[in-house]
């Protein structure tokens, strides 16, 4: 379960931000997850409290926002929605496409909690 490693990396980033912002806790963490990032949402939610325990994110809520899969066809130039295991162009059926979105794994936003005293 690599989601635990990812949550630990997430907590490291959040801890640095909280220090910067001089707060002792954060309340909300927003992460966008593409279906092709290789991350399972439920596993991420399961791992988060383990990684967050005893940190500034101890009481924080993790919000996972799933992004859609979009491809651009190198043959006809059209953009279309796609599925995880089918990235072919919906317009002309060619398989030579480039992923525009769907593999991201990004810390978007952190909402601060109490100011450090």
């Amino acid at each position: 379960m690599h989601e635990l490693s990812l949550c630990e990396a997430l907590i490291d980033q959040v801890t640095n931000i909280a220090r910067e912002q001089q707060v002792s806790s954060v309340s909300d963490i927003f992460v966008s997850v593409g279906p092709l990032s290789g991350v399972e949402g439920p596993l991420m939610r399961h791992a988060f409290p383990i990684a967050a325990a005893g940190t500034v994110a101890d009481q924080a809520e993790l919000h996972l926002e799933t992004t859609g899969i979009r491809v651009r066809c190198e043959e006809c130039g059209e953009e279309s929605d796609a599925k995880m295991n089918n990235l072919v162009c919906a317009s002309c059926g060619d398989w030579r496409t480039t992923l525009i979105s769907g593999d991201e794994l990004i810390l978007q936003r952190v909402v601060m909690g109490e100011a450090r005293v």
Partner: protein, 233 residues
């Protein structure tokens, strides 16, 4: 300033929040870049081998070392948990092998590989194989600094593995259909279907059929390694 400590954040308007827009894998990717610089500096071709457990990575490595050992100087970073003897098996072939102790980790990351690199004399290496943990999910997310990802697909696993594990097979630069000597007795593996599944995830990677046991198709694989190593000199 730097992109590791979060000092490039900008505050949001209303509540006390900050927009970050940073990849969760930034720290790993940064280290992977560093590994890549090591390889470049020493003219090493780094190949990351990924597969499900038991697809035959170590057997393939043994056969590859036997065939190439005379022409190319090979080293191995061994990250598989399955068999503690893997590094021993490789060393028995006369090439340096560093065993990474992953504990319960289901993947290698760039930091683990970096530590292993410092135990190797990279000036004496032409091709470095990194044998990743046998797992078709987790290793796909972590850049190690390799030049090439090779995914093994063993024939008993079925030809639809690329459709079931698109993240892994999308990352592959080359797919090796291993245990191909079994193709004549297996009726649920169609090499054309395997190729179709790889194309459907928009991956142009070539597929090579081989068998480390019988030597079938090994020539194509060895030729491929020689070409890739040659293009880096």
């Amino acid at each position: 300033m730097c992109d590791t400590c979060g000092c490039n954040v900008t505050p949001a308007a209303d509540e006390h929040a900050v927009e970050v827009l940073k990849g969760l894998l930034d720290a790993n990717d940064h280290e992977a870049l560093h590994n890549r610089e090591h390889f470049q500096r020493h003219n090493v071709l780094a190949i990351n081998l990924m597969s499900s457990p038991g697809a035959g990575k170590t057997a393939l490595l043994e056969a590859t070392i036997e065939a190439l050992g005379g022409d190319l100087r090979i080293a191995v970073v061994e990250g598989d948990l399955e068999t503690e003897n893997d590094a021993e098996r490789i060393r028995a072939k006369g090439v340096p092998a560093i065993q990474i102790t992953t504990g319960s980790a289901c993947h290698l990351d760039a930091h683990m590989v970096h530590d292993a690199l410092h135990e190797l004399e990279l000036d004496d290496v032409d091709v470095l194989f990194i044998e990743n943990v046998g797992n078709l999910v987790c290793p796909a997310s972590f850049d190690l600094g390799q030049h090439i990802n090779v995914a093994l697909l063993s024939t008993p696993e079925g030809d639809d593995k690329p459709a079931k594990y698109p993240v892994m097979f999308r990352a592959a630069d080359l797919v090796l259909v291993t245990k191909s000597d079994l193709l004549e007795v297996l009726d649920d593996f169609d090499p054309d279907a395997a190729e179709r599944h790889v194309r459907e995830i928009a991956n142009p990677a070539p597929l090579l059929k081989l068998s480390a046991r019988t030597g079938l198709g090994m020539d194509g694989w060895l030729e491929w390694i020689r070409r890739e190593a040659g293009s880096r000199e």
